[in-house]
């Protein structure tokens, strides 16, 4: 006689070490196999979009730091591009280069966390995570030098960056650039060929290119599925059309590919920084602007390739000192919609690493 079973609903989170923050998944299980999954979010909702409607255009920049708190510089950049588009501000040449250097350093720092946390979820308990934190520390040191803080940088402003680079910045950056490729090789030696990792991650949680496009997934998750789409190349913003770099893609779109993809992207970021360092001109770093920016009535959408995917800011102005509406298109939230397709039919232990391989930040999902 067959044993009668019924699906079991398991709540993972809101406080769970694998959910990278306060995030809850309601998983329906058949034995140990995941049948369905429903993300429940809102635990970290701070109403940033609404708060932005009451603040001046300059005063919103510190709010954007708190969206995706491990890549604050990218958020600042996306927001400032939106304001510049709205108000028609021209950014000085030097500021553009500084922005590119900062955004790419931030990409490396954020991807290091993404890779480290993914390996942590796979069960490589904190060893690779701390190796990667060591390098992130070096980047954060550089950011602390230019902006004065280690997490919420608030460095970019509409019309440039807040201050010029200190004179001791470039030697330190050069030293970092010499070091970094060596560390990348070390990560490869450490885990890239590790049999346990390959057995855990290869072929798990496959997201096909078609599915990824249908879910409007972006960033490394999309490119790991074999779709060559990077906003830096497809719709160049800032001065990205001046640099020579490749868009790496992977073939299958499983967890291992997403891990490989992130490591490849870090190498490309290093290439961009090296070129930007050579071409860095001198001059002013900030356009002359009044204290309170009053953009003409209208709307603007600016998007960038953030470490996690397409980050967009949509601003509507009614010719006052605060935006009428500020909408944020966060990559983490949209990438999360592909989760259900990926996890169906896999076991609970695989659910953890598939979720880890998407790389989300809850601050950005809930806003």
């Amino acid at each position: 006689m067959a044993v009668r079973t019924e699906p079991f609903v398991l709540n993972m989170g809101p406080v769970h070490p694998s959910t990278h923050g306060v995030f809850r998944m309601r998983a329906t299980l058949d034995g140990e196999v995941v049948i369905d999954i429903e993300p429940v979010f809102g635990y970290l909702h701070r109403g940033i979009e609404k708060l932005a409607e009451q603040r001046t255009y300059t005063g919103i920049t510190p709010l954007t730091d708190r969206l995706d708190y491990i890549s604050s510089m990218s958020n600042n950049l996306a927001y400032c591009l939106a304001v510049e588009k709205l108000a028609g501000i021209k950014v000085p040449e030097r500021a553009e280069y500084i922005r590119v250097i900062m955004a790419e350093l931030q990409r490396i720092a954020a991807l290091l966390i993404a890779v480290g946390a993914f390996l942590n979820d796979c069960g490589a308990y904190f060893t690779p995570f701390l190796y990667m934190f060591r390098e992130r520390e070096r980047i954060v040191d550089l950011f602390e030098m230019v902006s004065g803080q280690r997490l919420t940088y608030n460095y970019m402003r509409a019309g440039g960056v807040s201050q010029d680079l200190p004179e001791e910045f470039m030697p330190a950056l050069r030293k970092f650039m010499d070091m970094m490729p060596r560390f990348m090789d070390e990560y490869d030696r450490l885990l890239m060929q590790n049999e346990i990792l390959i057995a855990r991650a290869k072929g798990v949680g496959i997201l096909t290119g078609e599915q990824a496009i249908n879910c409007s997934v972006s960033g490394p998750v999309l490119r790991a599925s074999g779709v060559n789409w990077d906003i830096r190349k497809a719709d160049p913003y800032s001065i990205y059309d001046r640099f020579d770099f490749d868009i790496p893609t992977q073939a299958t779109g499983d967890c291992y590919d997403r891990y490989r993809q992130r490591v490849e992207e870090m190498r490309q970021s290093l290439r961009i920084i090296r070129q930007a360092m050579e071409q860095l001109p001198s001059g002013p770093v900030r356009a002359e602007l009044p204290q309170l920016i009053r953009p003409p009535t209208g709307e603007a959408y600016a998007r960038i390739e953030a470490p996690k995917g397409e980050l967009g800011f949509y601003l509507v102005s009614d010719n006052s000192i605060a935006p009428y509406r500020c909408h944020i298109r966060p990559p983490s939230l949209i990438n999360l919609t592909a989760l259900r397709d990926m996890v169906r039919g896999w076991k609970v232990a695989d659910l953890i690493i598939i979720f880890g391989s998407i790389d989300i930040t809850v601050g950005e999902i809930d806003r």
Partner: protein, 165 residues
């Protein structure tokens, strides 16, 4: 999943870990060993120069959190504003630095001090006297490059040898 030679990848990884046993430590023992913080440090306390301040209130208008409170009155004999009350609630402050950036008379700085934890919320409110620019208070170089030059250089992990012992 089948592997041709099982264990090669793991052995390679372990050599990296073993090499890490034989290198200098990256971390510092904090209360005993102290690193120099950034010359542009933003944090905790504000320093206010009473002589330079004209009471225009730009800092209070720029503050996105509304943490700065300034009350002024007019001194008719000298024809200028007198700052009666100047108060910052550092509990609300998010250390964005916009007030320092906005001050047109260079009267507001960040302090270069850290470890400013307090026991009660009320103690976080900085009054006029707490904020005064005293010679023993080190001032951060955020937006003041000439002040940054006087401060000790930031300790960078990039400069530190951690690779070989």
């Amino acid at each position: 999943m089948k592997f041709e030679r099982y264990g090669i990848g793991i052995a390679k990884g372990l050599t990296v870990t073993i090499r890490h046993l034989l290198r200098h430590p990256t971390v510092n023992q904090y209360p005993e060993q102290r690193l120099n913080i950034s010359r542009r440090f933003r944090g905790n306390e504000l320093v206010w120069n009473r002589e330079k301040c004209t009471g225009c209130g730009t800092c209070a208008k720029t503050c996105p959190q509304g943490a700065i409170e300034i009350v002024t009155s007019t001194d008719m004999t000298e024809n200028k504003y007198v700052v009666d009350k100047y108060q910052v609630d550092t509990g609300y402050c998010i250390q964005c630095g916009l007030c320092v950036e906005a001050c047109p008379y260079e009267a507001l700085y960040f302090s270069h001090a850290y470890e400013c934890a307090k026991y009660r919320r009320g103690e976080l409110v900085q009054g006029k006297e707490d904020m005064l620019d005293r010679p023993e208070r080190k001032v951060s170089g955020y937006f003041y490059p000439d002040k940054a030059k006087e401060l000790p250089e930031q300790t960078m992990l990039v400069e530190k040898v951690t690779e070989k012992r």
